[in-house]
Amino acid sequence: MLKRLRSRLANGGWKWGIFSILMLLILISPVPAFSAPPADRHIKINASSFEYDPGVIRVNPGDRVTLELSSTDVTHGIAIDGYNLQVTAEPGQNQSLTFVADQQGTYRLRCSVTCGALHPFMIGKLHVGPNTLLLKSILIATLGLAVMIWTGTRQ
């Protein structure tokens, strides 16, 4: 067992060890504090023809967000992934949903009422602060590739 471990380390396994440690550090590293102070945000969203307008919403962590949903064709809804919140609005009857954006990241908005053929694909996005998952993923991928290439050149 020890022999095998020693041979793996000699064959470049230590590089993957360093990669694993760095990957762990990247994963657990705290997200830099967002400087903008929390604010009240009132955002009007119109839903029609399997699309939200605007389709992408950006708020800061800690913002108190009010989504005012209107619909111009049939009854639509908004369910926010990760927040477990939803609201529905019939045509001509706007409805609001207020919440504190306390979870950083990117979340999908999905229509919560069967609204027609493309209902399962009626999707919007809510960005709360910067997307650290994306940044961390790219960083880890780049590190992993670097180690792989480094190991490959010295086989």
């Binding site: 939200y52 399962p120 694909f121 919007g124 590739l145 290439i149």
Partner: protein
């Protein structure tokens, strides 16, 4: 590489050689398939309430892409109900060979012994997929068409011509089955060499000759083995086995690399990217363009789709491969290494390196499916109670509310899957073997020729991360 013969484990070989477990699973699948067609034709037109849509495109798709293909390769093909009616007619029997079946028994034309027809069939379905995935009637008609074509193929051609050469689903299952940790192989090829009857291919009283038109002793990769287990039943020397092996073992073999399979990798990867933008993106105009078949927007969408998968992706990849070849040749000259080039043409290198896209494409499909399936899986419960959408409540789940599952962690899972796919693709590119007969290149040269391919894979992965996670 190490292998574990699973058929040595008591009970497994008996279960695999017996026809009954497989038959029971296939009959259940056939019943589900028939219900999907009936529900699609006579049930509610609301997709999220109809068995045809929910059970096939959410339930079955989840099972296929998240479990069956990555872990069992062509496991689904071994219980797929689509070829059953045609096969029963062709063989004249439900179980062992006994009677005389129907059909002309023609050989499949030599010129079509490839997967180009499967590639075309998949692209055809993909172009109309937004409608197929959402309209129960269209979905049912497509499923029924699969059945009709499969029966016709069984009655005209020998063996399972539909599965091997026509099925649009089987094409990509075969490609991605190279990743799976299971394989069907011979134990000792010298036993096969001495066995003149070749019952695994010709058939015997115990079973049929390989329905997939594969010569089992020559199996080196999973792509065309449908794991139907007939060869396990017909081999009198007990020389076939199911092995547990490392993931992706087929991707490091130099033989059997072909242009049709390479293009299948591009078609699948490109489709996953386009679907991620159309179905999971916030752009309504894209969804409507993909849905309104025959409109000007749809024509533009279809043209863009075809251009992307047949020209843009392969073109960029070809450029990356050519660059890698040029750089590695220059490097070999600089260090005065006299050796033959690993590939005699860019085309050969293009085909060889395209197999790096197999793990990347599978990861892209898993990441896409995770979001689509987990968000919509809860539609299954009402549909189980009310498959036709007629107001039944058979299991008291008809009123179960729509609930997206694991929505908070889905992006993390998707990012993890895409990262694994990228690193695996890079590893495959770095280990791409030289063409059969060519001398292997030096590690440094191998890295240099793979670098542009790795950059290509990185760009695709980061693009997918942007579409699915950002």
């Amino acid at each position: 590489m190490s292998r574990l013969e699973l058929t040595r484990i008591p009970g497994i070989k008996t279960a695999l050689r017996s026809r009954w477990p497989q038959l029971v699973l296939r009959v259940i699948a056939l019943a589900g398939f028939a219900l999907a067609i009936v529900a699609g034709i006579s049930g509610t037109p609301v997709g999220s309430r109809n068995f045809a849509i929910v059970f096939v495109w959410i339930g079955w798709w989840a099972l296929l892409m998240l479990v069956a293909v990555p872990l069992f390769g062509r496991g689904w093909c071994s219980i797929c109900p689509i070829p059953m009616p045609g096969e029963w007619l062709q063989q004249g029997s439900l179980l062992k060979p006994q009677g005389k079946g129907l059909g002309l028994g023609w050989r499949w034309p030599n010129k079509l012994r490839n997967i180009w027809l499967q590639n075309g069939a998949f692209v055809l379905v993909a172009l109309f997929s937004t409608v197929i995935l959402t309209s129960p009637l269209t979905s049912a008609l497509v499923l029924a068409a699969f059945l009709v074509v499969a029966v016709a193929a069984s009655l005209v051609f020998e063996r399972r011509a539909f599965c091997r050469y026509l099925c649009p689903v089987g094409g990509f299952i075969g490609l991605y089955s190279q990743v799976a940790p299971l394989e069907l192989r011979v134990k000792d090829s010298s036993v096969c060499a001495a066995h003149t009857e070749k019952t695994c291919y010709q058939g015997s009283a115990e079973g049929y000759g390989c329905p997939w038109q594969v010569f089992p002793p020559g199996l080196v990769k999973n792509t065309y083995c449908g794991t139907c287990m007939e060869c396990l039943r017909t081999c009198p020397h007990d020389n076939l086995t199911i092995n547990l092996r490392p993931f992706g073992a087929d991707l490091e073999k130099p033989s059997g690399r072909k242009l049709d399979e390479a293009f299948k990798a591009f078609i699948m990867l490109g489709s996953a990217m386009i679907y991620s933008a159309v179905m999971l993106g916030p752009w309504g105009f894209l969804k409507n363009a993909a849905y309104n078949i025959g409109s000007l927007q749809w024509l533009v969408y279809a043209a863009a789709f075809l251009t992307f998968i047949f020209l843009a992706l392969p073109g960029l990849f070809y450029a990356a491969v050519a660059l890698g070849q040029a750089l590695s040749s220059n490097n070999a000259q600089v260090v005065r290494v006299r050796q033959r080039r690993p590939f005699s043409t860019h085309r050969q290198a293009f085909i060889a390196f395209a197999y790096s896209l197999v793990p990347l494409g599978l990861a892209a499909w898993i990441a896409f499916s995770l979001s689509f399936v987990l968000a919509n899986l809860s539609y299954l419960w009402p549909v189980i109670s009310d498959p036709l959408g007629w107001g039944w409540d058979l299991l008291r789940t008809a009123q179960a509310p729509w609930t997206p599952y694991l929505s908070g962690v889905t992006p993390i899972l998707q990012a993890g899957v895409l990262l694994v796919g990228l690193l695996w693709a890079a590893r495959t590119a770095l280990r791409t073997p030289a063409a059969p007969g060519a001398r292997p290149v030096e590690p440094r040269q191998q890295v240099i020729q793979a670098l542009p391919v790795i950059l290509f894979c990185s760009a695709v992965s980061f693009g997918l991360l942007g579409l699915l996670v950002a």
